[in-house]
Symmetry: D2
Subunit: 434 residues, 4 copies
């Protein structure tokens, strides 16, 4: 017992009218939505990094949080941190969590020592998980914080860093498998460039493609059954990140023969930084067959960096889940809260309330999305709008050629009449559900 | 003679110290740069649309320009417009021009009538070109201005619009071939969506992929030897455009089997709107093997729409040409001024001066780029930075697997030492040339 | 009867469960909110320009709408347009409307002829208003569309344009007063610059300050009892607009001695373009004592231009009304829908549904805001957070000086202890109401 | 001697053709520009924080730099840091430097201990300055890094933090005066809000206004002859910063009666983040009479956070100095390099080269600006464009009223004829000088 969450009881569902800030008002794990338990739809995960490793620093200020597991550079406090984490999992009751290696273990003086630390904590996790239902949604390697990664991991100009990265990911994949993780994620925060002046982009892309192929090979070698996921982000900390957005990643996967082996982990904040809406990124990945999992958070629309705030806008979240449900819902993926407190939110209660609020927002979004799917209004409108394409004539035209089509158009047989796109009516429709 | 450019003599090269606003101070067509005439490097083209079809309208205001070829909805003024255009080509002496069908001919009451108008003007162009050296860099179809395209061209929910688009592109490809055009361009300003709520993205992408395959088939059928180019832009007028940026287009081309048939026409302003630098888009296309041609202009960095201004920043333009030269320079591509006057720049002299200034900026940029290539400083720095990868050991490692690499790293044999990226020194280096 | 809205009956309140797309589900004019009728809180107005004058053009395409009042360059169709407008007012039942002179009358060949046209339409409006309850929220002058304003109105380098602007505003103020308008608005779309290179900013600001003083003088001279409002926008169509945002306008008003004579008309879309949230602009104007009225719409968060869409996000709208209610609610101001259909929304039904949806969103936002005010949770949190400042000691310190304070701090008597800002808990609180 | 800069000799002016990366190619302190030494125009300052206190951290990674003065939390290394700083000043020969208290001294366990540390270092500086020509351009207080400031300094909801801030600024003003500093700067990085939900904006603004009045009172009390400067920035680290941009600050200064006591320190990067060009901010401050000093750097145009890079674009820098020279040039202000290395630029040589490059860029910009002023082309164009306003008739009109003007316009005597704004010709003109 860390006493950090002292006095905070497990969060219960109390219904929409509860004024209790530490109760679920909408997230009711066992409630059936479209024939499935809400928990099994949403598959919530807590991110170890933001909740337990981050100390409140920002680019203009240092640590604001004071935690029982500080300082984090020793094994004893790493265990205290794990104790606190699992206490929070008990309080929130969410089914999953996620980590980077660097979140959970102190860095050692050598690779081997870091690995030893890591494996000890993984064993400690295993023990804790054995008496709880909480599972690992995914593991990942932090290959951006230590100065060795300052110029990238697999795309580093120094082959030694590529090697160090390969060895690191191997150990993280091993640990993920050991803990029964359902996915393995790669986020390439420094796989990109600060300036094109010192960058050989073609060479770096080839190295990154080769690295990802090694990941896939290793997955098969060890028999990992989870999904390999890449998380797009356009920039920050780098000026340009190669995994820019869903469409860019898809082109990359194709180039290196990986589009059937790797899927995407999409984050709301990264979508915004790339100039897209979250539903755009989800719909794009779905259309391209690579939708895997989501990092749920929200980016401030007026801030040009990754704010990783907890989601709080139901209409937006509803559209995200609408596209996820249309794609068939999550399989190995889930809803990971890649979200952090504001650095002024100092208290344990803030950390719990933030997750409770986020889970409620997602529950409301999911229910609204399901209601729209069950009502069918959007899908009907879509069918009607594209109905012309369902005729045999249209399909024949589509499979013909320019000369054939030209003859018909030039003869005057075709003179298209614009029809209303009905955007406002569809927006009003959505507002009936959110 | 339209008298529009009355009194403006052909522009001559007068050298850097000339204070004459209507003289070239840097563009000297016959000057040899890296073994080739400057004109043959830059391959300047004038865009018919901005210089002759646009009337000065913006979203909050109507026509500001008063031109001898107004109103533009009749064949007689279309001919006057052509007269003026070729008079400007004579004044500027640039080797190429470009058009959309809708720039050069009035819309008819039917497809057939529009085509008749178009063909008459193409014949009129042919006549004019027969006595001049000016050539066609590329033709393209305007499939975004008329209300029939309001919901897209090849991605329209109405198959009749797809058909109308196919017939239109066929006629524009025919005309391009007839005039000896060296490329054919597609820009999909409304191939995208206003709202995902009424859009079937997967279906629309498939239609767009099919359409582009038809373009390529037709090219081969008629024996057109030019390059098919797609011009990326992230948005505007649509909320989202499928041809978002170079990397997105590359993914699209791969998905529809077109990456060896189609190249990209990259525009500075579109790069900026997509959150990239121009050199980023060029370097990306080069790395992916799809760099074709450029639309030179500049976007205001503080305006969130496509401002299509004339380029005026030598350091930026130099980096663009640096990456073009590194890729081997243009083959069928060129430097098209997709740039328009500010709507307050009412006079014929403004139109000439704007192009003179743009051509000079490009000439300075090209010379600086060539000097950097000849000096070799950037390339040397690159070679040194990646030198580690040239060793047989590094290549063996790259072709090995996670287990092999892990053994070596875990043994302590590898502990990467960060080296300076030298960004500021490289930036200073560039400033020696611009 | 224009027959344009044929078959669309006046919109009735049918309650939240109604699936009828042409019914109010939340806007119930007579419902009492915080002791006042909902209609009297919201004070909805319809904008003549977007609904009746705009033809669906965008920067890349022409007219998409086909209306009985096209073409708009003659008096007969101006009357048909007015008929349609008042028919829509009858259908929607909103209490107010707004216009620019150029929306309602064709431009004449001279100032005098334009004025004659204008006065005839104003008389036509008067007649229509005499048999209806609909009133004028505000009038304004369009001094940005015609080419004469291309370089600004009151800030034009040509004093003749200043004069033309003064005469124009005089006639619009006269007409506003004649129709019983409750405010007069100025939006300076071209009061700014395209390039600093040709701009004398100090001189232009002085001219604009002088002009606004003339407006205020004229108001007093004619005994207009309404409020003079300035509408901030940061840019577009100009690169920079002097009335950038609320804080900038406040500085301008102070500089020219107008801060007690002029208030602000704040638009959601303009707030977004200026890098602010809508509630920021409202809270800022309220804090500075210059909150007047709002232009309700929404800007697309991913589009860098003014999209003027209908509002559709309740959580955002609720925060806007929260700050308006905290400021005491509207007096002469109101909620003007400065919102337009998407250009693909061709039908009369789209126009009605868009307003119905917008009015419902505002009604939901208002009710949520009122509930938060009545519950008091946010205000209580604020009081608690700043409670330290209410002590006599704190006030004495605030009124002392550096030396006095230094003595106390340096003695060790003061060592501040950070307290949680509770942002997530407050965000969760808001989500109980929206 | 720290040996950190071992082997780097004082930088000499070697002329434009020198390939030496550690030579000035354009900055020649004694060269006369517009009758004044270049050094006296530019008044360069080095920023202690970026060059000596920052360790290479970014939001996703820790320290990359390894310096002899690390760790920085003790007095001995603070002295080593000062040694290195003055060695760099000797190498670069720039006339000024700048600091925050927290850059130069370790934080103590109490206010008094921090002050003791601070005063010891100030004395150490005094000693070093006594044998050198380098002077203090300005001092400032870091009231954003330590957790006590997490909710603001003068705008903190806790009056104890206001008090701590007042005491802190007093000591920094004392030290600035002691060292002969020519200005005192306030930057309010956390004077703003993270969320409006927990913020009383009106109250916070009043506190900030009161605080700034205390600063001015204290200045007069101690007889400090320098200028009080406020540095605008729109956001980051806060979501909103009250000192948003030049125009906002001007409104604030007026509201609290300070517009004749306080001037602005403008930063390129902050201008960009506020959606402005740097020359816009300078021209605005000049037009409002509050231009004080500049923080020269550059923001990446594609990154939405403050990148604080060294300037490297001559055309942009030239326009900045053009407006500074038009305003009469610096008096107490100067050109402070608020610029930091990229975190991959690890070497001492990078630090020197970055400043050399920046100083050269500024020198080129200054010379270009001076040449444009001496040539007079821009000023002549301006005079011609506004010439209409110089007539007695125009001035009489400006001082008349709406009725008088209306009579004249309505009579048909005035019908403005648009004239070209000549933007492109002016842009071309500028390109003759850069
Ligand atoms: Co994430
Ligand atoms: Co993120
Ligand atoms: Co283009
Ligand atoms: Co463009
Ligand atoms: Co408005
Ligand atoms: Co607007
Ligand atoms: Co600064
Ligand atoms: Co900065």
């Amino acid at each position: 017992m860390t006493e950090f969450f002292n006095g905070i009881a497990p969060i219960a569902y109390e219904g929409p009218d509860s004024p209790n800030p530490l109760a679920f008002r909408h997230y009711n794990p066992d409630e059936i939505v479209m024939g499935k338990r809400m928990e099994d739809h949403l598959r919530f995960a807590i991110a170890y990094w933001h909740s337990f490793a981050w100390e409140g620093n920002d680019p203009f200020g240092g640590q604001t949080f004071v935690r029982p597991w500080h300082p984090q550079d020793r094994m004893a406090t790493a265990r205290t941190k794990a104790d606190a984490a699992f206490e929070m999992f008990d309080i929130l009751g969410q089914p999953y969590f996620c980590w980077h290696d660097a979140d959970i273990r102190p860095e050692g003086d050598s690779f081997a020592e870091s690995l030893k630390n890591f494996e000890e904590i993984i064993a400690y996790f295993e023990e804790k998980m054995s008496i709880r239902k909480v599972k690992l949604l995914w593991g990942t390697a932090n290959m951006f914080s230590h100065r060795r990664w300052m110029s990238g991991a697999s795309t580093n100009p120094d082959p030694d860093v590529f090697a160090y990265s390969a060895a690191t990911v191997k150990t993280c994949m091993d640990a993920t498998m050991k803990l029964g993780g359902e996915n393995y994620v790669l986020w390439g925060g420094r796989e990109g460039y600060e300036t094109l002046l010192n960058t050989d982009m073609g060479r770096e892309l080839d190295h990154m493609g080769r690295f990802l192929n090694m990941v896939v090979d290793y997955k098969h070698k060890i028999g990992f059954k989870g999904t390999i996921l890449v998380e797009p982000k356009p920039q920050e900390p780098s000026k340009h990140q190669y995994d820019h957005d869903a469409a860019t990643c898809y082109g990359f996967l194709q180039k290196y023969g990986l589009e059937s082996e790797v899927k995407l982990n999409l984050e709301q904040g990264h979508a915004i930084l790339a100039g897209h809406s979250f539903e755009h990124e989800i719909a794009t990945a779905a259309a391209l067959g690579v939708l895997g999992s989501i990092d749920m958070n929200r980016n401030d629309y007026q801030s040009g960096w990754d704010t990783d705030q907890f989601p709080n806008n139901v209409p937006e979240v509803a559209l995200a889940y609408y596209h996820i449900l249309k794609d068939g819902g999550f399989t190995t993926g889930g809803t990971n809260f890649d979200a952090k407190l504001r650095r002024q939110s100092l208290d344990a209660e803030d950390l719990i309330a933030a997750h409770v609020g986020g889970m409620d927002i997602c529950a409301r979004g999911l229910k609204a999305a399901a209601a729209m799917i069950e009502d069918g209004g959007l899908e009907d409108a879509l069918k009607e709008r594209y109905a012309g394409w369902d005729s045999p004539e249209a399909q024949a035209m589509l499979n013909s050629d320019f000369d054939t089509i030209f003859e018909k158009v030039n003869s005057g047989a075709i003179n298209p009449a614009p029809k209303s796109g009905r955007q406002e009516m569809l927006e009003n429709y959505v507002n009936r559900f959110v």
